[in-house]
Amino acid sequence: MSVLDFDYMLGLAPILLGYLPLTLAMAAAGMVLALALACGLAVIRVLKLPGLNGITLLFISFFRGTPLLVQLFLFYYGLPQVLAFLTQIDGITATIMGLTLHFSAYMAESIRAAIVGVDRSQTEAALSIGMTNGQLMRRIVLPQATRVAVPTLMNYFIDMIKATSLAFTLGVTELMGATQKEAAGSFLYFEAFITVAVIYWAIVELLAWCQRRLERRLNEAYRR
């Protein structure tokens, strides 16, 4: 068993790839929702909206301060014991919910940092020529903040793709769950886990390539 069983790996890869769409769909849905939520949280934090600011701080503190797996168990197994109708939430929905809340807490902070990082003189200049707050945000601050935030947000997206591998604990057979079950049938653990590692790696590399292209476009105005 010292030699890798390549035939097995080649046979396994197409089976595992069949579960990739679910993995990507959960990550994509989680990313869109987390991004929307994080933007809201970041704005609240930047403007220090009274009342909401405190709740936001608590939210970020909790979802950043507890492991994702704990949060998933809480949503999926814990809450339904208190609120029976939550039993209707399936594993996929619970995973997306978990990813959204967990990663939005992180992303809110990196978006806030990007907004705050835009030089104050820019704001002053915009206000001095009579821009409204909305115009200031839309035309001056957000385009510059986006450029700063993209690399870290892509980082979170990559992390999120890999975090979907926790979903098997909630009964969702995604990429990792499928691998574990196939490995249990063949006992070729090394082969099975190498195969799945290569699949994750390839997907993340593909994303990194997209990220480089996106960054180049966002940086066009800054090129000398």
């Binding site: 197994y77 057979t173 499928a178 079950k181 006992f187 653990y189």
Partner: protein
């Protein structure tokens, strides 16, 4: 918009309220790990194993449709508790604690706890030689409990694993693992891991299907129990066991 939301919420509540009973009349939702050869495992994307065959036979006998839900073992009891599955078919051993909490069918597998070591580790000849050794057990399984009940339990370094205890024993990261005799023999016979049985089984094990200890759960348990009894009498259980193990593990 608000009305639609309220409606959705109401219907969700209604489904939650009567959904359990309705679903149980037509389908039996069975949870398993899909990672316990040869009881439940996947080959070429197909769920197979002794448990799968038994539960399909039970479904046929009851006239119910069986749906299988696979999840990590550590999630299975949570799924049972929260009503997402009706029972667990994963060689669940009857223990005092579990029997206090769940409604079990009568046992359908009789087995023993077995010490397994890496090939060539002949100095470990059974459970009595585990003093000062690292021993792996699966998280949430009852083998940890069995080890802790030994008089010299304090001298055993017990490691709990989510999965892959066979692999880690073969790698020499632990000195031994505990599993039921039936699947341990199967693993050694069928899989390319250098492992051997150490001595005789050290504790008798009865495996059965747990249901929620509610009126509904107990009613379903009785139905499944009757189906199991019928399958035992007409020899189906024996047939399934012979097919997977070459002998009958469904009788004491």
């Amino acid at each position: 918009m608000l009305r639609r939301f309220t409606l959705t919420l109401l219907s969700a509540g209604a489904i939650a309220f009567c959904g359990g009973a309705f679903a149980q009349d037509t389908t039996l939702r069975v949870g398993m790990s899909g990672g316990y050869f040869p009881f439940t495992f996947v080959e070429q994307d197909t769920l197979k194993g002794f448990e799968v065959d038994v539960m399909n036979a039970v479904g046929e006998e009851m006239g119910a449709e069986v749906t299988f839900v696979t999840a990590n073992f550590s999630g299975l009891f949570g799924m049972l508790e929260s009503g997402r599955i009706d029972t667990i078919a994963n060689q669940i051993t009857m223990t005092e604690e579990r029997e206090a909490k769940y409604a079990f069918t009568s046992p359908y597998v009789y087995d023993g706890a077995q010490v397994v070591v890496k090939e060539g580790r002949d100095e470990i000849g059974g459970v009595e030689d585990l003093r000062g050794k690292r021993v792996a057990v699966n998280l949430g399984s009852n083998y940890e409990q069995l080890l802790r009940e030994l008089p010299y339990a304090d001298d055993i370094d017990i490691r709990t694993y989510e999965s892959n205890i066979e692999q880690d024993t073969a790698l020499g990261r632990v000195d031994a693992f505990i599993m039921d005799r039936v699947s341990a023999s199967q693993v050694i016979q069928e899989k390319p891991l250098p492992l051997q049985l150490a001595g005789q089984p050290f504790s008798e094990i009865h495996n059965a299907l747990p249901f929620r200890d509610t009126e509904q759960g107990r009613a379903l348990r009785d139905e499944v129990d009757a189906a199991l009894e019928a399958l035992r009498e007409d020899g189906t259980l024996t047939d399934i066991s012979e097919r997977w193990f070459g002998n009958d593990i469904t009788r004491p």
